[in-house]
């Protein structure tokens, strides 16, 4: 069963702790002026930060600029980083705040309204990632992707943020609470509602999954 069982969670936690330890060493070096150490921090976290920014903003150029600005702010604030939180929750908080600030700009709101468009194949190379020689399967995957894209786009930004942090980054409730500056209860509530909305949006996809699932094909 592909759930986040306690064993997987513990493993994830251990991996996070190891990562945090390595980050701390790099931060200490960067605080002393070691630029290479800072570059390593950027390299370690840039893709995940970009994934969050892209999920929130849904514009590659904007996401790239936000992530770049976030790292510059991190560098300016290195001296004030005491290690009370993990580096990536600090970084994600900056990325989230910058993304939300950008989305609040009037020019961005106009872009936000333009959500009805279909997604080009080139936008998301999902088809190449999900193998399916069957054309019907390919079409179905494209349909899922478009529905998911539309459903995520319809979510309030904070709901979109938690679902991405949870499912793409595997962050714990506590880490998300720290990154978004809210309580764990708020995170749970946002996550619950985000999932409910996405599941409703993908309801027919689920119905088809049941039809196509191996269990439903049993005699």
């Amino acid at each position: 069963m592909g759930v986040n069982s306690p064993d997987l969670s513990a493993s994830n936690q251990t991996s996070r702790e190891l990562e945090a330890e390595q980050d701390r060493a790099l931060i200490e070096s960067a605080q002393k002026g070691d630029k290479l150490a800072f570059k390593k921090l950027v390299q370690r976290h840039q893709r995940r930060a970009f994934a969050i920014a892209l999920g929130l903003l849904r514009d590659e150029q904007d996401a790239r600029e936000v992530v770049q600005e976030a790292f510059l702010r991190v560098h300016r604030g290195l001296d004030s980083f005491q290690g009370g939180s993990t580096f990536f929750t600090w970084l994600y908080r900056i990325v989230t705040n910058l993304s939300i600030d950008l989305m609040r700009k009037p020019s961005r709101r106009e872009v936000e309204l333009d959500e009805g468009r279909e997604i080009d194949e080139a936008d998301i190379p999902l088809l190449s990632r999900i193998d399916g020689a069957d054309p019907l399967d390919v079409l179905r995957r494209a349909e899922i992707r478009n529905k998911l894209e539309a459903a995520l786009g319809a979510l309030p930004v904070y709901h979109r943020g938690v679902i991405l942090m949870r499912e793409v980054e595997g962050m714990s409730y506590e880490e998300m609470a720290e990154a978004m500056g809210v309580s764990k209860g708020t995170i749970m509530s946002r996550l619950f509602h985000a999932r409910q909305k996405l599941q409703r949006a993908l309801a027919d996809v689920y119905a088809e999954e049941v039809v196509h699932s191996p269990r439903s094909q049993k005699p």
Partner: protein, 195 residues
């Protein structure tokens, strides 16, 4: 369902206590509906994960551009320092002017025909210029003396400033000029000083 959706979600996310996990697992064995809901969470997670990961190209790398934009380390300046420096340099300028005035007063007395340096209402710059330049005939009769004072340098601190001489027919007036280009202060007046 005997377990709430909220508890089931937390179980899916690995955010439950041992006791809560036991409750959910018991329900999973007895109620197919609970299992279906749990699988729905997993499936949704898979969709979102694949969608999210596929959007970020493996080649994404902004490390070099971030490093290029890093500002060079700047020596940290105490926030009070610029203001202190302004007043210190102003003080130095006034002190230099005072030396000039004192040295001028110690010069030989002015002849009766010369304009009075102490005339009421006379600007300080004019007073100085009158006192500092003795009459030529008197000066020739006396042993040559060094000029009343020489300003070789003025430390303006972080501010820019100039020292120059305003010449008229009968006198020369040294002026220490400090343009007031700092942040406006409540008590900022004209910081130029004429000596």
């Amino acid at each position: 369902m005997t377990v709430s959706r909220e508890l089931l979600m937390r179980y899916h996310d690995g955010e439950v206590s041992d006791e809560e996990a036991r409750v959910v697992e018991a329900a999973l064995e007895q109620e197919p509906r609970v299992l279906e809901e749990l699988e729905a969470y997993s499936e949704l997670g898979s969709f979102v994960r694949v969608w999210g990961e596929a959007r970020v190209a493996d080649s994404f790398d902004i490390a070099d551009s971030v490093m290029q934009k890093l500002e060079p380390p700047i020596a940290r300046v105490h926030p009070l320092w610029p203001r202190v420096a302004t007043w210190v340099s102003l003080g130095v300028a006034i002190a230099a002017g005072s030396v000039l005035v004192v040295r001028s007063w110690s010069a030989p007395p002015v002849t009766p025909g010369a304009p009075s340096a102490m005339r009421a209402g006379q600007p300080a710059a004019l007073a100085l210029s009158a006192a500092a330049v003795p009459e030529v005939s008197a000066a020739l009769e006396e042993e040559p003396k060094p000029p009343p004072a020489t300003i070789e340098s003025v430390d303006f601190g972080v501010n820019a400033g100039t020292v120059f001489v305003v010449s008229t027919d009968s006198s020369e007036t040294p002026v220490v000029w400090m343009p007031d280009d700092a942040e406006p202060d409540e008590d900022d007046g004209d910081r130029s000083e004429s000596l």
